[in-house]
Symmetry: C2
Subunit: 242 residues, 2 copies
DNA sequence: GCTCATTTCAAACAAACGTTTGAATAGGGC
DNA sequence: GCCCTATTCAAACGTTTGTTTGAAATGAGC
C-alpha cells in the first residue's frame, strides 16, 4: 500500500493549461496542497475535497495514499519536521565538538535551533515558509492527536537542547530552565506562525514580514537575554503587586 | 432582540438532579458552555449541538440569542476581553501617575499587563482560566473573522503599552521595540494557552501547572531581560552562522 | 500480448453540520 | 382575563463532511 508508485500518473485534465509540466506524483501533490491549505485554514476547516481539488487529483486518492485525514496531516508534518529536528541535533553536536572543553553560549545553542528552520524557509521556496507557519499553528491546536504527535516528534530534540542550555547556564535551576525553554519555544513558534499577527501589534513593516531571517536575527538576542536573566526569588513580584 | 429576558427560564429537565439550582439565564449558560468547549476543541471542531447540550438549552437558542456561531464566539471573547484590556490600560495609567516624573521600569509595565490577567484567572474560578487558554488559542487561529476581531479589540491597548515601553526603553529603536513587543505577546499567549504543552518540554511539574500566578512570576523577569537586551547590529548573527 | 498488482475514478454512503421555521409557552402591562 | 412580546422547543432544511465501494485504467515483468 505504501510502496513506490510504478509510474507517474497523468491526470493533466484539470490544470494542463495553467501548469503544463506535472512532474511530481500524486502523493507529493496531495502533501503540497495539504500543507498550504492546512496552513491557510487550519485542520478542521480544511476539507479533503478542497485539498484534492487543489492538487488536481481524485478525492479518493487522499484516503488511498494516507488512510485518513488525520494521518494525512501527520504525514504533512513529518515530511519536513523529522529532517529539521535531526538537523538541529546534529548541528548542536557539531558546535559542541568544535568548542571542545569550552562552554557554548546561549546564542550559539539558539543558533542550532534557528538555522535548520531558516534552511527550511529558504530551500523549499514557498513550501518551506508555509510549513513553518503551519507548525506554529499546530502548536496551539487543541486536537489530541496533534498534541500527542508533536510531543513524540519533539521529545528527543527538546531533551537534547535542555541538556545543552543546562551546561551553558549552570546557575539556573533545572525547574526554572524548563520554564524558560518553554518560553523560548512559545516565542519562536508564535513568531513563525505570525503572518498578519503583526497587525495586532501595529507598526507593519512589509519589507520585513515574511523575511524570517531578519526576524530570527531579532528574536535570538531577545531570547538569549531572557535565558540569562537573574532568577527571581520568592519575594519577586510582590513589590510589583503580583 | 437583545433585551433583558423577562424571567429566568425553567428548563431543568436535563440536569436537574446533577445541578439542582439553575440560577443563570439561557444566554449566560450558553456563553459558559461555549467558552469551555471552544477552549477544549477549538472553534471549528465545536458544534452548536455540543454547546447547547452541555448548557442544557435548546439548539435553536444559540442562533436566537447570538445570531450565528461566529457571533457567539465573538461574544464569548468580548465578555471577558473587553474588561480585562480596560483594566490593563487603567492600571498602567495609575502606575504612571504614581511615578510622577520618574520612568516606569519594564517590570512595572509588564505587571500592568499581567495583573488583570491574573485577576481574571482568580476571580471567575475555572471560568477565567478557561478563557485565558481560549484566548491563547484564538491568537493562533487562522480564521479571518477571529483575526480581525482580535486585531480591533487589542489595537488601543497595544498602542498604549508600546508608548509606555518606548519611554522606559528610550535607547531601543521604534522598529526593534515593535518586534520585541510582538515576542512578549507571543510568549505570554503561548504560556497562557499551554495546558499539556508542558509535555512537549518535558519536566512536568503538576503543582505548578494551572497555577498561573507562579508561571507569570517566572515569565516577567524573562521578558523584562529580553526587552532590555542590547540591540543587535547589522553583523550580529553572522558570526553565529545566520 | 497476457498477467497482475497498483493506482485512478465516479458515485454513493451515512452522519453531522449551521441555520430556519412555525407552533407552543411564558409572564408582565393594562 | 386578555393582549403582546419574548423566549423555548421539536422538527426539518439543504449542505457538506470523511470515508467506502467496485469498476476502469495503467504499465512493468514474463
Amino acid at each position: 500500500m505504501n510502496t513506490v508508485p510504478r509510474s507517474v500518473p497523468l491526470n493533466r485534465l484539470q490544470k494542463a493549461a495553467a501548469d503544463p509540466v506535472e512532474t511530481t506524483d500524486t502523493k507529493s501533490r496531495i502533501l503540497d496542497a495539504a500543507e498550504e491549505l492546512f496552513m491557510e485554514h487550519g485542520f478542521e476547516a480544511t476539507s479533503l475535497r478542497l485539498i484534492t481539488t487543489a492538487a488536481g487529483v481524485n478525492l479518493a486518492a487522499a484516503n488511498y495514499h494516507f488512510g485518513s485525514k488525520e494521518e494525512l496531516f501527520q504525514a504533512v508534518l513529518t515530511r519536513r519536521l523529522d529532517p529539521m529536528n535531526r538537523d538541529r541535533v546534529e548541528l548542536l553536536s557539531s558546535y559542541e565538538a568544535a568548542a571542545g572543553k569550552q562552554l557554548l553560549t546561549c546564542e550559539k545553542i539558539l543558533a542550532a535551533m534557528f538555522i535548520p528552520a531558516l534552511k527550511l524557509a529558504r530551500d523549499h521556496e514557498t513550501g518551506g515558509k508555509n510549513f513553518l507557519r503551519l507548525l506554529g499553528r499546530a502548536y496551539a491546536d487543541p486536537a489530541p492527536f496533534i498534541r500527542e504527535f508533536l510531543s513524540s516528534q519533539y521529545s528527543e530534540m527538546i531533551a537534547r537542547f535542555r541538556a545543552a542550555f543546562s551546561k551553558a547556564l549552570p546557575h539556573i535551576p533545572r525547574e526554572e530552565l524548563s520554564w524558560r525553554l518553554h518560553f523560548v519555544m512559545g516565542a519562536l513558534s508564535f513568531t513563525l506562525a505570525g503572518t498578519d499577527v503583526l497587525k495586532v501589534i501595529g507598526q507593519y513593516h512589509p519589507e520585513e514580514v515574511g523575511n524570517d531571517e531578519l526576524i530570527l536575527k531579532r528574536l535570538a538576542p531577545f531570547l538569549a537575554a531572557g535565558l540569562r536573566a537573574p532568577v527571581a526569588n520568592a519575594d519577586s513580584g510582590r513589590e510589583l503587586g503580583f
